[in-house]
């Protein structure tokens, strides 16, 4: 194990230099991988701990106009703003609202995720693996430190009797076992995982604040059950940004088994922080689809 990269911990190098393989696969997944000709080489992992503060960043007024979205941005990315239609000024009344993308959050997330992912790839490369299956990635706060830890873990595999990996960079997939077998059966091979985050901040306008908080004073002529336009547009935007970003990473391949999760952190008076994480497997067709045998009907005796 002469070519262990310099920034892996010493214990990792020690672990890899020993003979036995380790695998995070369950036994059914292990059996399915052996059947496909994939031999586990080792359990591999990558981590990155990031300082994770809250952002107090006010981007300044966007485009000016009547009430309704006016699209424009002062710092790149999605942004639209709403002006108060009521025409009066008071300390309690929000005269202006804005949705904007937070590229600095997205960049920080991408940095943390990519650092952890690259370390995982380094570990797998040090093992001479062809690929990594059964990937799991999480990001979780660590204790009360105000830090966020990104973790990526998976099982490095070698193709039995296969040539050494071509460009030295193993393929990766969230799938393992029979689910991976079915993907390959269908004529697709895994290329890599794709993961991205989109972040949008909502500074509520007066109408959004009234509708969200249920404090409509009566003169805003908004019907009960009406859509809260600003929040709805932010929700749509955050999902669209995540989808577009993943699509731009695909480079002609397909995204398989995508899952999208949206989190909303409410900040009061209609203000909110929206986050959308999109994950999936980037796959590439390598052979024509050859229909599988017709399934045999079964009935469970329980």
């Amino acid at each position: 194990m002469d070519d262990v990269p310099g920034d892996l911990p010493e214990a990792a190098a020690r672990r890899f230099s020993e003979g036995a393989f380790t695998s995070g696969l369950t036994v059914p997944d292990f059996a399915a991988c052996l059947q496909m000709g994939l031999e586990p080489a080792g359990y591999v992992q990558g981590f990155c701990v990031m300082k994770w503060g809250s952002w107090q960043f006010y981007p300044g007024a966007g485009a000016y106009g009547g009430y309704g979205p006016s699209v424009g941005s002062t710092h790149g990315g999605y942004s639209e703003s709403w002006q108060c239609p009521h025409g009066f000024v008071s300390a309690e009344h929000r005269v202006w609202g804005q949705n904007y993308e937070q590229p600095w959050v997205e960049e920080a997330w991408a940095n943390g995720f990519t650092s952890a992912y690259e370390r995982l790839i380094e570990e797998a490369s040090a093992l001479g693996a062809h690929g990594i299956v059964g990937l799991v990635d999480t990001s979780a706060p660590l204790g009360d430190l105000g830090v966020l830890e990104f973790r990526v873990q998976g099982t490095a595999v070698k193709v039995r009797d296969g040539p050494p990996p071509a460009d030295g960079r193993p393929w990766t997939t969230y799938l393992a076992g029979q689910r991976l077998a079915k993907l390959i059966e269908a004529g697709y091979m895994p290329v890599s995982i794709a993961a991205t985050v989109a972040s949008v901040r909502v500074w509520a306008s007066c109408i959004t604040a009234y509708l969200t908080e249920g404090t409509n004073p009566g003169w805003t002529s908004q019907a009960v059950g009406a859509e809260i336009e600003q929040t709805a547009r932010a929700q749509m935007a955050v999902r669209r940004i995540a989808r577009e970003r993943v699509r731009s990473q695909l480079g002609g391949d397909s995204l398989h088994g995508a899952s999208m999760g949206t989190r909303e952190r409410e900040l009061g008076e209609g203000d909110a922080d929206l986050e959308c994480i999109l994950r999936g497997n980037r796959v590439r067709r390598f052979k024509e689809f050859d229909p599988m045998p017709a399934p045999r009907p079964t009935v469970r005796l329980s």
Binding site: G19, G24, T26, P28, F30, A31, V147
Partner: protein, 265 residues
């Protein structure tokens, strides 16, 4: 019943003596029971081992990330004792191995800083009388279910032992200067990354050392668990667990899967 180990309670010897007359207890489900019979094993009895351990305290440096070796040893020894006692019960029954092992840690009101480590599982023996004990002559242990045990046997592997490694790590508090220095920025904290990374790798290396002692060819189902137990959020135990297996034949006898469609519901 000549070689009853000294440290098993009297009640255990009595229970095990009854089991030797053919009655068996097990916590296997019906399906697991059938699958274990199918690969030529039968259950002998439900076995367990426990150890109440005073884990003590170790002074931590407020601003330094470091392994707490005394706590690591305590957590490791306590589990090892529980496992060994369970193995002794199994050996007493003449078992080849223990399947479905669960390792738990319980804290009780009456014991401050003390924890009960408990290992339970079902002892099994091969029908054909061929010994399947591991390299050390002890019954193998594994946390595999009956289904997993069956599948593993079809791939030409046999379990050797439930292997584990642990590392208790203290994560430094950040000084005010450091906190202010990076306020409002999202940057990597390489010291933290390195500390946690090191801790997990240590746990996994130790697990692998155990597997090597058993002459295993691999470890399946590795899990990495993280718990703060009762030490506060800055002290974390990293525990890695898996079943060490050895290859008995190069042959995978698992038939090609059949596609099915369920008519239930």
């Amino acid at each position: 019943m000549t070689d009853t180990p000294q440290d098993l309670p009297e009640g255990a010897s009595k229970r095990l003596a009854e089991l030797e007359h053919g009655l068996f207890t097990s916590d296997l489900s019906v399906n697991e029971f059938l699958l274990i019979k199918e690969v030529g094993f039968h259950p002998l009895g439900f076995v367990m081992g426990s150890s109440i351990y005073h884990t003590g305290i170790q002074t931590r440096k407020w601003g330094q990330s470091q392994e707490l070796t005394k706590l690591t040893e305590a957590m490791y020894n306590a589990r090892e004792l529980a496992m060994t006692r369970m193995e002794e019960e199994a050996a007493e029954l003449g078992a080849d191995g223990v399947v479905g092992v669960r390792l738990d840690v319980n804290y009780y009101e009456w014991g401050k800083d003390a924890a009960e480590f408990i290992a339970v599982g079902t002892a099994v023996k091969a029908d054909n009388g061929v010994s399947h004990r591991n390299k050390l002559g002890k019954p193998f242990t594994s946390d595999l279910s009956g289904q997993d045990f069956w599948t593993l046997m079809q791939t030409g592997h046999i379990p050797q032992g439930l292997v584990m490694g642990t590392c208790v790590y203290h994560i430094a508090h950040r000084g005010i200067g450091q906190t202010l220095g990076s306020a409002g920025q999202n940057v990597e904290l390489p010291n933290f990354t390195q500390a946690l990374y090191e801790a997990r790798e240590l746990a996994m290396t130790r697990m692998q050392d155990e597997a090597n002692q058993l002459g295993a060819s691999g470890i399946v189902g590795v899990r990495l668990e993280e718990k703060s137990h009762q030490w506060g959020s800055h002290t974390i135990e990293f525990l890695s667990l898996g079943t060490a297996v050895v290859k008995t034949s190069g042959e995978v006898t698992l038939p090609a899967p059949t596609t099915i469609i369920s008519l239930d519901n």
